[in-house]
Amino acid sequence: MSGEYPIVEAEEVTKKFGLFTAVDRVSLTVRKGEFFGLLGPNGAGKTSVIRMMYGFSPLSAGVMKVFGLDIATGWREIRQQIGVCQQDNTLDPDLSVEKNLLVFAGYYRLAKSLAVERTAELLNFFALSHKRQAQVYHLSGGMARRLMLARALINDPRLVILDEPTTGLDPQSRHQVWDKLRELRARGLTMVLTTHYMEEAAILCDRLIIMDRGMILVEGSPEELIGIYAGKSIIEVETPGPELVAFVKQQQVRHEELPTRLIIYTDEEDQLGRVIRERFCFEKCIFRHGTLEDVFLRLTGRELRE
């Protein structure tokens, strides 16, 4: 049944706030079992897309289908089968850890016995069993985020939407969350993720889009995008001499001139890389692989957004 249609299908989806267009005719498809990423600077429209996906924000134009159902009419049926981990901590501070899950299960009208069973399972999966009775405001940032994830899974969803699930976490907690998300992916769960961390997207996502100013700039797998927009290897030169800058310009090598740095995109097979290394790089040269961050900054620019 689920093989017949994509899990999410957005067609020319548009969101306007007054005169401001937050999302401008975005079309995307998320297939079953896929880990799909939405990347973009602040204000790019990621959260707006996601909110339209779970029926929180009405669309200004276009069609959003989830599980083949139109969100405008089938929102209740859709929400019954999705889990949402919002960007803000929306845990219920009036309730204990365990009650947070049990009460939430009630919103999905899960049978009591099933709710109890799934609560125990999820607390165990997210290493929170020992905090069952704790009040949520006593939880650390990492634990609170794991509880948010557990809550998003209480209804055994077919699609999980994750809005910046690791923002503000320390490296240990972040890696723990990534491990859990990978486990869920291995079980075949379809997930949609927004993030500011390119490393996170590169590690987790099978396919992603980069958005800016409400529009999709590119779409592809992290590897594809790095290959096309960043190149395999990169040379970063601090306070480059004028000869190097002139050389790079003359040879028409892809590069970016920043106030105190020169970034040169080369390929490993490329002879130019070796030439630069031998002729110009006596000090303060960094040789590294291209990353999703290079792709992101090249496509969306380096200026601050807010």
């Binding site: 706030f17 909110r51 779970y54 929180f56 924000s57 009405p58 209740r76 049926e77 929400r79 019954q80 999705i82 949402v84 919002q86 803000d88 901590n89 929306t90 845990l91 219920d92 501070p93 009036d94 309730l95 009650k99 009460v103 939430f104 009630g106 919103y107 999905y108 009208r109 809550r151 209804n155």
Partner: protein, 260 residues
């Protein structure tokens, strides 16, 4: 008009509030238990020496008997109104509880309706306790007094809906001072609560007729003592219409506030 998107799911939200209420039920019970005693001591005992008897609906009654049913009515108002203003605002704005609910199969109208129904439930619980208190003190002389419970629920819906309307339009929690200063306090003082409306000049009497609390006070007096100034059906009708009007207004303002 579009469908209201209401279903029994709203009782999931109502249950959530009940679970939180039960966690500190002893504290929650203390207020309606002792507050009327304080008022009865201060006004009933303290003031009654100055006031003596009150002429109400053609009868002379003691001042303390006069204000006892009014305490029921004001508690019904305060419980629902404070629940859907301060408490709902905290859940909506600071705790983001509604945001979390709106990612589940709950509709916004169900969440808002459940909050108002919960406010009315708190009114009912408070009224039940106060009714026990004033009955045991001998201020109730009609078996109709049990009907105070459904009346408390209706009154709770009316003031809960009004409170939710203010929550929909109030920019910050401090601004609730305004509806309290301009709406709740004048109602509390001038709705035939502490003195009979019949003693007021005609224009003020007509103004009091607009007060939902006036009708609630009238009805609690009728049910506990068997007499009232106005007609019971008119007062019930007024409360019901008031509740409905503010219910739809609150759905509208909350939708505008929350759905982006």
């Amino acid at each position: 008009m579009k469908s209201l998107d209401l279903s029994w799911r709203l009782f999931g939200v109502w249950r959530r509030n009940l679970i939180v209420y039960r966690r500190i039920w002893k504290v929650n019970f203390l207020v309606p238990l002792f507050e009327p005693l304080f008022y009865l001591a201060a006004f009933g005992v303290g003031l009654s020496g100055l006031v003596g008897e009150v002429l109400y609906a053609g009868e002379e009654i003691s001042y303390i008997r006069f204000i006892a049913p009014a305490l029921l009515a004001t508690a019904i108002m305060f419980n629902a109104f404070f629940e859907t203003t301060y408490a709902s605002f905290v859940r909506m704005y600071y705790q983001k509880t509604f945001d979390a609910m709106l990612a589940t199969p709950l509709s916004l109208n169900e969440v808002i309706t459940a909050e108002i129904v919960w406010g009315a439930t708190k009114s009912l619980l408070a009224a039940a306790i106060i009714l026990l208190v004033i009955t045991s003190l001998g201020f109730v002389n009609s078996p109709l007094a049990l009907l105070v419970l459904p009346l408390a629920f209706l009154g709770g819906l009316a003031f809960g809906a009004a409170g939710m309307f203010f929550t929909g339009i109030t920019p910050s929690i401090d601004m609730f001072n305004l509806p309290i200063f301009l709406f709740v306090t004048p109602l509390f003082l001038f709705s035939g609560t502490f003195f009979p409306v019949a003693g007021l000049p005609p224009w003020a009497q007509n103004l009091a007729l607009l007060s939902p609390l006036y009708h609630l006070v009238e009805l609690t007096r009728y049910l506990t003592m068997g007499s009232m100034e106005a007609g019971a059906l008119t007062s019930i009708g007024y409360l019901a219409v008031f509740a409905l009007v503010f219910y739809f207004l609150s759905l509208k303002t909350m939708r505008r506030r929350l759905i982006k």
